[in-house]
Subunit: 327 residues, 2 copies
């Protein structure tokens, strides 16, 4: 008998999630049936979208999310014991999986750590790769602004923009992140939205105006950036983390005038729209890592029992690069 | 000696323009020099964009705008007396034009009235044609919403959407306009934003959700429509007339969450981006008019001295179709 631990949403949070909203429970798992296999979590992902989904999730269900796990028992010859897999199993230590709908055998990462399959060589990496390149269509010499630049996606977007020959301005919430962005990842400049006047700082950082904006945050900062964009600028909206924890969507100056007068194109996206090209992104990011052009950082929290803490810490911007939990 | 009349912006308006902001003046014109010609206005256009440009215009300059005029004197053999032209001469009865930068000889309208060169066979017609078809990319069977549907551009967009096999919902500010849209122009339904609950009315009018939104107004209505859009919906932003007369841009719920969760594409545009294809739009609209598929209405105000009144009346939604002044 295997006893799984799992984090269950028992109350839809208002504001930042509280410890009483998401609670740790145990579940005794049944014996495996034919075709099933048992996965033990190795790394679990905490991502902003999990907060965004909470108001739309059923209560008393396990928190959603992906993990890298190891098959420790199997009655399915396609998924033998010892193999590592990636799956959307939610916040669980042990999962009985049947069929293969939400499971992929961990692809060859060329010797890189398996945790990267949840980050730069997984959904966040492909979110950056496809979202930025396909929607912003950056050209060499253009100016690119990235918000939540210290996060899993933003930190990759900025580096890809540098690879493409752009001037890159990162917006993030701590000088420590800023130092990492400029000194290690090659961003041209950094704006601390908590301590700088973003409008003034952006005028200095982007004197020729902004051509591409990769937007992870929404809200007031987006308005400020859009007002400084050049004609035919492109905005890729990846998320709106600035108000995932708000009771109501905040009001901002209506953006239509900026959009029409500068003929901006603003597009929201979810990376799975490029499912058919998934391996292309992973392959390119792997290559860039090996060439030293793309760097990554992981903020790893130890222990499945600290998953809630890691989640809230990430929502508050405590992570640098990808936030992960090591089970 | 010819004495021209002209309307001069003497004070940038706050709110709706006041009679003391834009005043009628006279100007004695000099003799023509070689290559110059004199145009007498026949029809003058009043458009929402003129209000949008006012905060960015120099005071004590003539109000901008286009007109259809007749050449009454000429020292330029390419522009002989008697020809009709279209030009960006501003709000003036008589204009000395040199060179041909802002002038086009009126193209052959196939027997249709010359005033249409300021409407359905001019900028508004091409704004509708290119903006809607190129940015919304409507497919047969989709649901299209048009705001300011009773205006020069919106009334054409809705009809083109019908030609393309879409279900069309018009939003406008009077039941008289609504009756015209549904009974004469073939719109499927109409929402009066002044008397209806737009959110509820739209749910009824677009039960399958909205695929394309041609946005002339911005503000609160745009948020309501975007919240009811389907995945991969397209929004073409043509203008934001709802707040051209406001002191400050109104605050609306931040649209990023709707844009990202539904993967919407939102694009602002100015029709001159399709200058290279200009005749294509005019030709197609002419053909549709002759086939009875595209109808137009003009709200014509008589007398150059009533131009200010016609302008404000248009800004308040008093026009049905294209607002014009007959000099």
């Amino acid at each position: 008998m295997v006893v799984a631990k799992k984090w269950v949403l028992v109350k839809r949070s208002e504001g930042y999630p509280k410890e009483t909203d998401i609670v740790l429970q145990e579940e005794t798992l049944p014996e495996l049936k034919v075709d099933e296999f048992l996965v033990e979590a190795v790394y679990l992902s905490v991502d902003p979208y999990m907060r965004a989904m909470m108001p739309r999730s059923e209560v008393n269900t396990t928190m959603i999310g992906s993990q890298v796990g190891k098959i420790i028992e199997s009655k399915n010859p396609k998924y033998p014991v010892g193999k590592y897999v990636i799956g959307q199993y939610g916040w669980r230590t042990h999962t009985i999986v049947s069929g293969n709908e939400f499971t992929r055998i961990l692809p060859d990462l060329g010797g890189l750590p398996s945790s990267l399959a949840l980050g730069i060589l997984g959904m966040p990496g492909n979110t950056a790769y496809f979202g930025f390149l396909e929607l912003c269509k950056p050209k060499a010499g253009e100016t690119v602004v990235v918000s939540a630049a210290g996060g899993a996606v933003g930190s990759i977007v900025g580096q890809i923009a540098k690879i493409k020959g752009c001037t890159v301005v990162g917006i993030a919430g701590s000088d420590q992140k800023g130092k990492w962005l400029t000194d290690e990842l090659g961003f041209d400049s950094f704006i601390n939205y908590k301590t700088d006047n973003v409008e003034e700082a952006l005028k200095k950082a982007a004197p020729k105006g902004v051509d591409c904006y990769f937007d992870n945050v929404g809200g007031e900062i987006s308005t400020i950036v859009m007002n400084q964009m050049n004609e035919f600028g492109r905005v890729a909206i990846c998320g709106a983390v600035s108000y995932y924890n708000e009771k109501e969507i905040p009001k901002v100056p209506a953006p239509q005038f900026a959009i029409v007068s500068k003929q901006l194109r603003v597009e929201g996206f979810i990376a799975i729209r490029w499912t058919g090209r998934w391996m292309e992104g992973l392959k390119q990011n792997t290559e860039w890592i090996k060439q030293g052009k793309l760097k990554y950082h992981e903020t790893v929290t130890d222990g499945f029992e600290n998953m809630f803490k890691a989640f809230v810490d990430m929502l508050k911007g405590g992570n640098m690069g990808k936030a992960l939990v090591k089970a």
